[in-house]
Every structure is written in structure tokens, then in C-alpha cells.
Amino acid sequence: MSLATRTASDAVTASLTGKSKDRDVRSMVFLGALWFSLFFGVVVLLALIIDTAIAGAPRFDLQLFTEYESRINRDGTGFRAGILGSVWLMATTALMAIPLGIGAAVYLEEFADKKSRVARIIEINLQNLAAVPSIIYGMLAVAIMGLLGYVYKGIVLGGAFALALLILPVVIITTREAIRAVPSDIRHGSLALGATVWQTTWRNTLPSAVPGIATGTILGLSRAIGEAAPLLILGLATVRDDPTGIESKVTALPIQIYNLSAMSQLEYQVAASAAIIVLLVLILGMNALAIFIRNKFQRSW
């Protein structure tokens, strides 16, 4: 809806009915309820952050990042394995999901006949995949790892399969939106000069769509970095080692948080709270970056 129509409607509201109509008791209560709805979630989020930050405050130290999980030195237990594991998982996930996701989106937007039956099946299929529970993707990754002949599946490759498959629909859907936002004038101008469809896509459409694609990809990765359920299915557990390759045994920050939360000792809960703050900072940072890119670089045509 454009600004103009909205302003026009406001003007109509003001002139025809007068704002005073919005000032009776029921309207005010209604508006109050809407305000409450809007800010309830935000208040819960703030409570979550503050409560967790207070609980984790004693452990905002360097050992949190440099040490492995420890049964002996509970006060010094750290998330080194989880943080490095999450970094490895994210990098591998990004390498798998981003090229595949962008490729699929480019095909669907620029090459496929949008009215064809196949395109419609893929369309519905994507909507469905986007809503499949994440734990199911863990099961798929288990099957893939089985096919590839891996007996122990809690390695970087297995986790990355699960996470990449999980965020693939998100990457495809947001990339398609970004591509669709590039006006067809530009494509036609390029094609009329004798460029092929791929040349047009590579030299014109994709560069213009980069901010939108970056936003979608970051949001997808920020979802993947917080996922624990599909990794549990793969058997990711406690690891006291740095990952060195895609076949390394690995754990992830959310998995470590989950494992520690099941322990009865208070020290572990404190450490888990501190780790949650680390995870939240990472994710909120990624979200903020995505919103910044969207608001700053997205050109309005």
C-alpha cells in the first residue's frame, strides 16, 4: 500500500468522521489491547535476555571461549568446541545451500516457464518444505549419511547436510523475491542487445538483486546457527576437540547449551546462560545486518 493512499485515507478519516470517534472508551481499550499484543513479545524477549544475562554474568570471561566442556573444573567450563563447531557447520552449510539456493531461484525466475505444471509443482513443494519440522531434516541427513557410508554421523558433513537442506527453501524463496524485484525493463534492455538469458542474469539481474539475496541468506544462516533438533538426530554430542575438517566429530553451540541445561549442577546452568547470550548476540547481530542491508542497499526502482 502506498504512502499516498494511506495519507488519503487518514485525511478521509479526519474529515468525514473526526478523530474523536476513535476516542470513545471501547476504542481506547481496543487500541490498548493492540499495543499490548504488539509489545508482549518484545517484553518477553527483553525478560529473556535480562534474566539470562544476569544468570550468566559470572561467566562472561575468556574461558567461556577458550576452554572445552569440563567435568572437573565446572567453573571454568567453556564452549570452545561448540563455537568452533558452529563456525565449521555454518561455513559448510553456506557452501552447500547458497549456490544451490541461488541456482534454483535463478532457474525458477529466469528460465522456467512459470505457467508450466513442473514450475507449479516446485512452487507448492517449496512452500511445503519451508514448513517441514526441522527435526525431520535431521532424519533425512541420517539417511544421506547412511547412503554415503558413514557409520558415525555426528560429523561436520552430516550436520551441514541437515542445516543446508533446512535453510534451502528459505534461501530459494527470498532469492526469488529479490530477483523478481528487479524490473523487467532491465532484462528486456539487455536481451534486445543480443545478450543471452544467462548473460542478462549474470551481468544485470543478479548484481541488482545482491542486497536482497544477502538479506535472505543471512536470515537463513541465522536460523541454522540456532538449530539443535536436527543435530540431535545425527547424534551430535559432547566433543572435547577442535574440528579440523568436514569429517571431524563436531558439536554446536546450541547442542552444548542443551546438554548443560540437562545437568543438575548450578555452574553448568550459569555457563549455559552465558553461552546463550553469546548465541543471541551472534543471531541478533546477523538479523541486524540483514535488516541494515535491506533498508540501506535495496534500491527502489
Partner: protein
């Protein structure tokens, strides 16, 4: 860099392509009378029919486009003139569900034949659009785009860019800011950039789809001057809803109208009359043309 004097291109009497200065502001009537039909057409349409899905958009159009002439396609909205234009370089292929029957020949070859590459067609037959559509790149890269993507053998891209910009009467305005984004140019400059971009690929025919409809009168006049200059080197087909523009620039004019289908009520475009522009505007043979020219409908 060429040392051509600036005023030579600015006053619209000289282009890098023309061997001798030419006069363009003489009324078309002052020339030798042209034959009624182009004797050596570059392009022809034969029984051209266009469908969008079930919708019959254009019915049986036969036209011939003369070499180094400007042909104007005019008519009321929805008469199919833009559709016909987009058939001439197969841009209609991009519309989902579009189907073309009949022939469009280019130097005698049917461009809708099975063994014809639409991309090759478009390198010979360029197109300028209604709304200026420069790429979000530098002015230089906009011009170099076509030669680069088509793999044209170019001795010096700098020279080619300059030649194209001079050809589109834009060089003097942009020569100091070739690396700046084309999006910063005015609407009229953007449209001339799009023309420069098209001639950089050295096409044979230039199609223009209402190229001035988004421009102010001064920018429009410059484009019209430019068209008359480009005529020496290119065959031009222009769609316009501005009858004065057709009268000012074109050698021949085709008048289209839309005929409602008896059963479906869909309006199918058809060619009413095709003749020398002078004849169309002074002595049309069809009553509908006369009504349209005199402003009685459309």
C-alpha cells in the same frame, strides 16, 4: 579521442557515420517523391497474426520496411502496433503464452523459422523502449555492454563508446563523466544513452517503441532530430501515439485500429492503411484513417 568540433554534433547536422553534411529539417514533401511501396524492403511481415493464449491480438498484417527510411506505426491504444513492433526482433518470445503465425522476413529470411536464433536476430535488429531503461552501471559500461555480450571484435572499446555516444548526440554532455552511473542522467539523456547503447552493437534496423512518451517536449525534439540523422545509417521503425511526431519524422506510416470480435468482444488489432506519410496525413484512402487523423476517434 576524436577531435570533432563540439558544435557539429550539437546542432544536429553531422554524424560520424555520414559522409557529407545532410539537411534534415526540410519537409519530407520537398524530396523526390518516394515510390508507393518500398522498392527494396529490409524487413517485411506477411500475414502476421499474434496470439496471447486464446486472445487474438493482431490479425493479418502485411508490411514492408524500406531501407534507410523511418516507418511509423500509429493507431489508438490496444490496436496492436507495439505487438507488431515486438515481433520484428522476437521480443514477443519473452511474453508467456505469446504465439506468432505468418512470416516476418529480414533480408528475405523468415526470422520465425525453426533454424533461426532469436539472439542473433536481436544483434541485427535493435530496440529502444518506451521508458528509458539504462542499466544500473556506468555510462561507459552501458555502451560497452552490447559489444561485450555479443563478443563483437572491437579494436578499441573507448573509440566505439565515443562513436556510439556521438552517434546519439550525447558525447558532449557525458564525455567527462563516462565512469558515472547512467541512472544519474536526465530522462532525455537516458533515452539517448539507450539509443547509443543500441547503435554500439552496429545493428541494421532500430525499433523504437514510443521512445518519447516519457520525455518532455525539448527532449522529444532532440530524439526526433536524432532519428532523422540515424536514418542515413539505419532502417528505423517507430511506434508512436503522437500523430504530429509521425508526420514530422516518418517517411511511411501504417495506421492500425482494433476491431472487436463479434462473438468474444475481444479487440483484435489490424492494419487499416499503409502508405507514404504525406498521403496518410493529407489524402487517406480509408475513412477510419481520416477520422483518426482528424481527431474524431482514438
Amino acid at each position: 579521442m576524436s577531435k570533432m568540433p563540439a558544435e557539429a554534433t550539437a546542432n544536429g547536422t553531422h554524424t560520424p557515420h555520414s559522409e557529407a553534411p545532410m539537411t534534415t529539417f526540410v519537409s519530407q514533401a520537398g524530396h523526390e517523391p518516394l515510390p508507393k511501396l518500398p522498392p527494396d524492403p529490409v524487413m517485411e511481415t506477411k500475414a502476421l497474426n499474434v496470439f496471447y493464449g486464446d486472445f487474438h491480438a493482431v490479425h493479418d498484417v502485411d508490411l514492408a520496411f524500406g531501407r534507410n527510411e523511418i516507418t511509423a506505426l500509429i493507431g489508438p491504444s490496444g490496436c496492436g502496433k507495439s505487438t507488431v513492433l515486438r515481433c520484428l526482433n522476437r521480443m514477443n518470445d519473452l511474453v508467456p503464452g505469446a504465439r506468432v503465425e505468418g512470416e516476418v522476413t529480414y533480408h528475405g529470411q523468415n526470422i520465425y523459422a525453426k533454424d533461426v536464433d532469436p539472439i542473433a536476430v536481436r544483434t541485427h535488429i535493435g530496440m529502444v523502449f518506451q521508458k528509458p531503461n539504462p542499466f544500473p552501471k556506468s555510462i561507459y559500461d552501458n555502451i560497452a555492454y552490447g559489444p561485450r555480450v555479443t563478443g563483437m571484435k572491437v579494436d578499441s572499446m573507448d573509440d566505439l563508446v565515443e562513436e556510439a555516444l556521438r552517434g546519439a548526440a550525447l558525447w558532449d554532455e557525458v564525455k567527462d563523466k563516462l565512469k558515472q552511473s547512467a541512472i544519474g542522467l536526465s530522462g532525455g539523456q537516458q533515452q539517448r544513452l539507450c539509443i547509443a547503447r543500441t547503435i554500439a552493437t552496429k545493428p541494421d534496423v532500430i525499433l523504437m517503441d514510443e521512445p518519447c512518451s516519457a520525455l518532455d517536449p525539448i527532449a522529444t525534439a532532440r530524439i526526433e532530430d536524432l532519428m532523422l540523422e540515424l536514418k542515413d545509417d539505419y532502417t528505423i521503425v517507430i511506434v508512436t501515439h503522437n500523430m504530429q511526431q509521425a508526420a514530422r519524422v516518418s517517411d511511411r506510416t501504417a495506421f492500425f485500429t482494433a476491431k472487436p470480435d463479434k462473438t468474444t468482444g475481444n479487440r483484435t488489432g489490424q492494419l487499416v492503411e499503409y502508405d507514404l506519410t504525406n498521403t496518410i496525413f493529407s489524402n487517406p484512402s480509408d475513412q477510419r484513417t481520416e477520422d483518426y487523423i482528424s481527431g474524431r476517434f482514438g
